[in-house]
């Protein structure tokens, strides 16, 4: 038994990496997988808050690296799911407290007892990012449908390909179907055309995600919201299921007819 190490990264900050890690951790654990979520954002930890586990932290990642505790002691078990754990980041240190070899060693030690290790990468392309990517078997790139986020994602995909960690797969987060329909937001096809990598999920904008994050109860616990369903779909795809991409909102009959009548090349104008 050997876990898959999946690193979630983005380049740009604030696109939802930590939200994705928390929700995929919950969704995978709800499907019977043994999961450790690892917060590699030393000095700016958030994953514990989103999972509602902040007050249970005793030791952290840097304590393990510096030998103040055993790895097992630093793992925080989720209060709701038996098979979900958190390896928290240190809040009072910075990225220099961790090296890429440390991350590889820690992940290797966890591999035999779990099915998934989800690594939450810091934003940027510096040492913290390199630490998070070093142990990865697979990489998920999170982006928002905006030009700046997509550009940064492209940069990160290039770095990951150069490290031989590819092919990365893409999660488009916070898509607003209404804006896309009005032509005011990049649609999925435009993002994919720019990035030219495989898509593993589309998460629509959903206010309940923010509420959930603030209360430490990730949206994936309740999969009847659109975003919660999207995270469960991604988890199923990670487990090898073929899950069709649900249309975000059915276009009306007239709209479809109109699109169909309009020649393809005219759409840009």
């Amino acid at each position: 038994m050997s876990a898959r190490v999946v690193t979630v990264t983005s380049g740009k900050g604030g696109v939802g990496k930590t939200t994705v890690v928390a929700n995929l951790g919950v969704a995978l654990a709800m499907r019977g997988q043994r999961v450790v979520t690892i917060d590699a954002d030393i000095g700016l930890r958030n994953l514990d808050v989103m999972l509602g586990l902040e007050n249970r932290i005793v030791y952290d990642l840097v304590d393990v690296v510096e030998g103040r505790c055993r790895l097992r002691q630093a793992l925080v078990r989720d209060k709701r799911l038996q098979e979900l754990y958190l390896l928290p980041a240190a809040q009072t240190r910075d990225k220099s407290a961790l090296r890429a070899e440390d991350m590889v060693r820690i992940c290797d030690e966890l591999r035999e007892s779990f099915d998934f290790l989800l690594v939450d990468s810091p934003a940027g392309i510096e040492q913290g990012f390199r630490n998070a990517v070093a142990p990865a078997d697979e990489v998920l790139i999170v982006t928002n449908p905006e030009v700046a986020a997509v550009r940064d994602a492209d940069r990160v995909i290039g770095l990951i390909e150069a490290e031989g960690k590819g092919p990365a797969r893409l999660i488009i987060n916070r898509l607003k179907p209404e804006l896309v329909r009005r032509g005011d937001m990049m649609d999925t096809a435009a993002v994919l055309e720019l990035l030219a990598i495989d898509l593993i999920g589309i998460v629509p904008e959903d206010e309940t995600v923010i509420v959930a994050a603030n209360t430490g109860r990730p949206i994936a616990f309740t999969d009847h919201s659109p975003a919660g369903r999207a995270f469960h779909d991604i988890a199923r795809r990670m487990l090898g299921e073929e899950v069709p991409f649900a249309p975000l909102k059915e276009p009306g009959f007239l709209e479809r007819l109109f699109r169909w009548m309009r020649p393809e090349g005219e759409e840009q104008r």
């Binding site: 550009r151 492209d154 995909i157 290039g158 770095l159 150069a162 090349g265 840009q268 104008r269």
Partner: protein, 230 residues
């Protein structure tokens, strides 16, 4: 001598010889021994040398070149992040190689140095992948990309640049001053396009349907013409 101070591996472009951190003379000795052992295997091949951040002058590169030549191995390229080494490589008429990682590091330590025009023409460099934001490809000869060049990527060539795909990044053809250099792409929409000392931007409005185009310098200005043109 550690056995891994020199690594030799086969790549699609021939052998790649990576030199470690040892003192120079020790490396040359180790390389000579490796070549002696595998003489039959290496004979007739061509090799690129990866020296990392080490600064090498022409004499030292030629030393390796001569050593390889004794075993009928042709040194064609040197990969390095040190400006001195790159300059010496160009002066010897060899190809300087820059990986995407190296390019980023080099960009930081970069002065205004422009490699001098090579004494004999360098060959083409074929890039068979998507060139992404933040990646930079420099080559003294022609650069051919089979794939897309994304916005935020840079391609700098001594001569022509051909992109069999979308070109959205920054390109500089004829970067050593050659005004006869051209840029061709299936979808020519670069952020900025330079030929020799001329600079042009793509029109703001997007085209309805991209057509292959060629950009060239004509009467002192850069112009793009559809391909095939009549």
């Amino acid at each position: 001598m550690e056995p891994d101070s020199i690594a030799i591996k086969g790549t699609r472009q021939g052998l790649l010889i990576t030199l470690g951190e040892e003192p120079w003379e020790a490396l040359v000795d180790a390389l000579a021994r490796r070549l002696e052992k595998g003489a039959a295997f290496f004979r007739g091949g061509r090799a690129a040398l990866d020296v990392g951040s080490r600064s090498l002058d022409e004499t030292r590169i030629r030393q390796v070149q001569d050593l390889l030549a004794r075993y009928e191995v042709d040194l064609w390229a040197v990969r390095s992040t040190a400006d001195a080494t790159i300059l010496a490589t160009v002066r010897l008429g060899l190809t300087p190689l820059l990986g995407p990682e190296d390019a980023a590091r080099r960009a930081q330590s970069r002065g205004e140095t422009h490699p001098e025009a090579p004494t004999h023409p360098a060959g083409g460099l074929v890039v068979e992948r998507t060139v992404r934001s933040g990646q930079r490809i420099e080559h003294p000869g022609d650069v051919i990309v089979i794939g897309d060049v994304h916005a935020g990527a840079e391609i700098i060539a001594g001569r022509h640049i051909i992109v069999w795909g979308k070109l959205h990044g920054v390109v500089h053809a004829g970067a050593l001053g050659d005004e006869s250099a051209v840029v061709c792409a299936l979808d020519l929409a670069p952020t900025q396009l330079r030929i020799a000392d001329h600079i042009a931007r793509s029109p703001e409005e997007r085209r309805r349907r991209p057509v292959p185009e060629m950009a060239r310098v004509h009467k002192g200005r850069i112009e793009a013409i559809p391909w095939p043109h009549r």
